[in-house]
Symmetry: C2
Amino acid sequence: MTSSQFVPILPIIGIVGLIFALAYYIKIIRMKVENELINKISGYVHDGAMAFLKREYSYLVVFLVIVAIVLVFIRENKLTAVWFLAGGGVSMLAGFIGMKAATKANARTTWMAVKHGQAEALLAAFNGGSVMGLSVASLGILGLSVIYIIHTFKGIDANTLYDFSSVIAGFSMGASSIALFARVGGGIYTKSADVGADLVGKVEAGIPEDDPRNPATIADNVGDNVGDIAGMGADLFESYVGATVATIAIAAAPLISKSATAEELLPFILFPLIVIGLGTFCSILGVLSFTLLKKMEPSKALEGSTTITNVLLVILTAILTKPLTGSWMPFWAVVAGIVTGMIIGKLSEYYTSGKVVIELAKQGETGAATNIIAGLAVGMRSTIFPLLSIAAATIVSYIIMQKAGFGSIGITGIYGIGLAAVGMLSTVGMVMSVDGYGPIADNAGGLSEMSGQGPEIRKITDKLDAMGNSTAAIGKGFAIGSAALTALALFHAYAATAGIKNGIDILNPTVTVGILLGALLPFAFSAMAMEAVGKAAGKMVEEVRRQFREIKGLMEGEAEADYSTCVDIATKSALAEMILPGTMAVLAPVIVGVLLGPEALGGLLAGATSSGVLMAIFMANAGGAWDNAKKHVEEGNLGGKGSAVHKACVVGDTVGDPFKDTAGPSLNILIKLMSVVSLVFAPTLATLTPILERFIGKIH
Amino acid sequence: MTSSQFVPILPIIGIVGLIFALAYYIKIIRMKVENELINKISGYVHDGAMAFLKREYSYLVVFLVIVAIVLVFIRENKLTAVWFLAGGGVSMLAGFIGMKAATKANARTTWMAVKHGQAEALLAAFNGGSVMGLSVASLGILGLSVIYIIHTFKGIDANTLYDFSSVIAGFSMGASSIALFARVGGGIYTKSADVGADLVGKVEAGIPEDDPRNPATIADNVGDNVGDIAGMGADLFESYVGATVATIAIAAAPLISKSATAEELLPFILFPLIVIGLGTFCSILGVLSFTLLKKMEPSKALEGSTTITNVLLVILTAILTKPLTGSWMPFWAVVAGIVTGMIIGKLSEYYTSGKVVIELAKQGETGAATNIIAGLAVGMRSTIFPLLSIAAATIVSYIIMQKAGFGSIGITGIYGIGLAAVGMLSTVGMVMSVDGYGPIADNAGGLSEMSGQGPEIRKITDKLDAMGNSTAAIGKGFAIGSAALTALALFHAYAATAGIKNGIDILNPTVTVGILLGALLPFAFSAMAMEAVGKAAGKMVEEVRRQFREIKGLMEGEAEADYSTCVDIATKSALAEMILPGTMAVLAPVIVGVLLGPEALGGLLAGATSSGVLMAIFMANAGGAWDNAKKHVEEGNLGGKGSAVHKACVVGDTVGDPFKDTAGPSLNILIKLMSVVSLVFAPTLATLTPILERFIGKIH
């Protein structure tokens, strides 16, 4: 069997995945919720979420069109612009489908808990997530394989293959652009609503979380979907596409120097596509298997499906790698990626649960300050092992492919780094299904509270929600780890296409400066994101206070809160505040490249990736640890709710909110987006003389 | 006039500086304090500080001896070990002199305020700092010039010059080792005492700061000296020595490849020594001029002396550069360094005062959490312009020397980067005098409170203290900026001596991994430092609580607190906790070098420098901003002392303590120490095959 024979199967896998996504969506829609209050509140959440998406997309379409026009001018192959629009469009479509499903599934989860108990509620939440998961994976493989088929329609030769490898960077950049705005906008939205609802509702007015009297409570629930469904989906989609595109670009690079023929390289160009095709196929089977596992403990069931997916993928890859590429080695690089993804996820869970969290909660006994200091230290400490894992994966996958003996045709260890990233991300369909489950369960909990369900039902939804926190931690770790490997792969793809001949020498002062500036960007970006949350939350606080003051009978439950104003405020500030950091991310690599040259831009990417990954892990785990320390106290430990320790831990949790849900996850995108912008921009850059050099001559 | 004719003048400048330091010390000692209580309390502080130093040094001597033995084995030239011991010894001596003077000057400052008013009190505090400042600068130039004279005693040729340039790395490494332990140990000491005193005394018992009933109050005052005098002095001393040593090593590197003669390179090898000689000379004059300026506003007086020093230095360097080196260009590189130092200092002041701080205090109106979030954002945002300044200084000084036209003899732009660092640090005598003033004024404030002086006296010492906060912020910014440039210079010196021929290519995966691991170290190191403070503070809290509980009549002022136990606890935990991070800093470069090779180690240094500088600025400025936001409220704004806003700001201040006084400043040393360890280790590394390569062959 040859790689080319596999190609027609790839879009079919994508279509099958989409059919299953549709089937699950219809299944969810068909579950009737026979409770008017649940339907009403869930309707608010759905409408708020869709309104936000609609408004966000109307901004993003403008952005996409402007960038596409620029691409038409700077890129020789005009199809780059077309695929850029397609990448952005597909990402938006996946976000739309996922949000639609999630905001319908939340009510069904609550209702299933009422009518049929835990197993059916669990299944409803998981199926809701699966719609997003399967859509993301299927649209990705469908898009990439269709682009391949179009470009090689007239025949496979060096030109058509190179064209393909080069223009798909546009697809990836489209996905990344949407991801950045989705993550940043979503992150600001969710936290401004959350902080606003908590500060006035819980702290000032003293009413419980998700109380319908709190005007910001709908915005808060909308935020969970906007941030954790649309944001996370776009994030993983871009990693998935980015890793594949980078690996293809690395495999196709020898075509430029003509050191290998199209025929020799074809198996390596197609292999990443085949791996993600297999991964999507295994994800579909994994998602299907969940129906059989639903009666298990929720955590066991989610883990079971994930294991089924991974084991299947390893078996299929093991069978196919040697026949397709002529070597076992690519298989091991893929496995290195899968294993690293699992390790980093588990490490995130370790630092945001159990012993670490209990210890952190105890630090609240001497007040908020010690709780904060300890949480910051936990976050910083938690970077050690994930970073070592990423470093090990890089070295190991490099060595594996270097030893594979394809150096003569230019397939070196670098290709191995790309494959590790692809391996890690190939099961994104399953990963995202598990991850999407979390916010749906969270929303379901909110709905059962707001609609006044009894303690029995609350117990079920609480249990599902608690499990969701754990999957969220694992998912965040996975998102960061995959972003790091993807960024590294994109970085090498960039270097291969930017005409950099003598390496990127750190001793060259423009490269040194590039590294410094690159390392700076995540700090600057995080500061912007956190300040944006502060500003947006401030507006929300004022509005909630105003409603409590002006709407007569609200506190007594006799009048209804004006939810839509709060939704509106969150939407507007999220969209307004996402523009500056987003623009910075897109422009920074272009400016440094034009000013200081392609080597300096390489330094920028290396600096941004290293400091970005560290900051992202630091923030995600510190935030997660504070969150769970607070929950640990709320479970009745160390004095329980309302105690001094609880108050201290609430401060920690609030500080952690913009860390873990706004700034941290946005950094994942920042590093990938800058890399992919550089990759798209690379051929142009290779033909320019840097401005600095024009003024003072070559400086190294 | 030739460079060689200048050499005999250099040790003379050093000796003259030491004589002035001694004169100021005697002047301080001779001021009689005619108040028994002040004498008694100041005696406690002095004894506690000296006891800490004694114990710390007894540890450090063991460390120095062990490392010296290792150096005897791995370095061909055995004098490296001797100069290593000398560097460590000189740093300890400077610390000892400085502490002795500072802990005597505090009481004199208080007493001068009582007897003669502000001008004399200001002078006493400044003179106390000058003892440390002049000692640091003079011992540095004396040590380095004497080593030069010894090594070239038999004649100046390629061998003797190269030997000199190589063995002085030992001197620098000695200074760095002491600096690390002084900073980390001092940082843990001062914050454990501070947090302990605040949490139990101020918050739980409700007694004011520096109240003699608080058992931790003496330890707190000792801590100010241990951290800000000994720690800061050792920090700047190592930057000063490190920058000079790196620049000399860069200038001497062409001797290895024999691309230039000893005669051609001699002016460039001696130029950094001459610049720091001139800087020390100008610092002496600047310190002397302060006596004339003492009647001005304190801030104006300090700024006046600094300006006099800088202007004199610029004039002298302008006159001498062309005759000594044959080009104007080195002058401009030096000026680039001086200007950058000033800019970074001013930026630190901006982010920790005025508008920024008022805004931050306002964020306390919605509680501690928003105050913390805003402070973290301020810290992150504050990295932008300092980093851009460092980047600009790097590029500008590189271009300047590249254009000087000495490329044919191997004096390239890299030498310019070294000179910028030397220029920035050459006036360390003055910088450290101003910086040493701060903790003395702080202590004087404490003494006037503890000895029950009236509000008139408090007003004077408060004013001097407030000014000290501002100089501390500038000093911290300067320390970070100079550390960054020094680390960059050391990094290039390392590359020049490690036998790295084809540059340090980021595309080499071992280099990529080196960068990732390097960027990780500051995070791991900060986590350790912050956790150490937490642990030490916990012990202190228990002890203070115990004394309040068990010593009858303590709260009523009828019994005396047992200060010495608290001093003892702070000492012991600081020393115990400094070992792990210190060892990590020394071993990390060695391990990475041996395991992954010299290029990977280069990556490690680049990664550590970039993320280390960012984390250091972030932490220093966030901490400074929180501190001053709290002070802003305490001045009566936003409700003043005891208000809800004040409580929120106290939480921010406490979080900032380990940031700005422990973890942040330690990172300055971390990046320099790792670079200088690499430099010392470089010749050995050049002869080894990395372990990874042994197992799997060359991998790039």
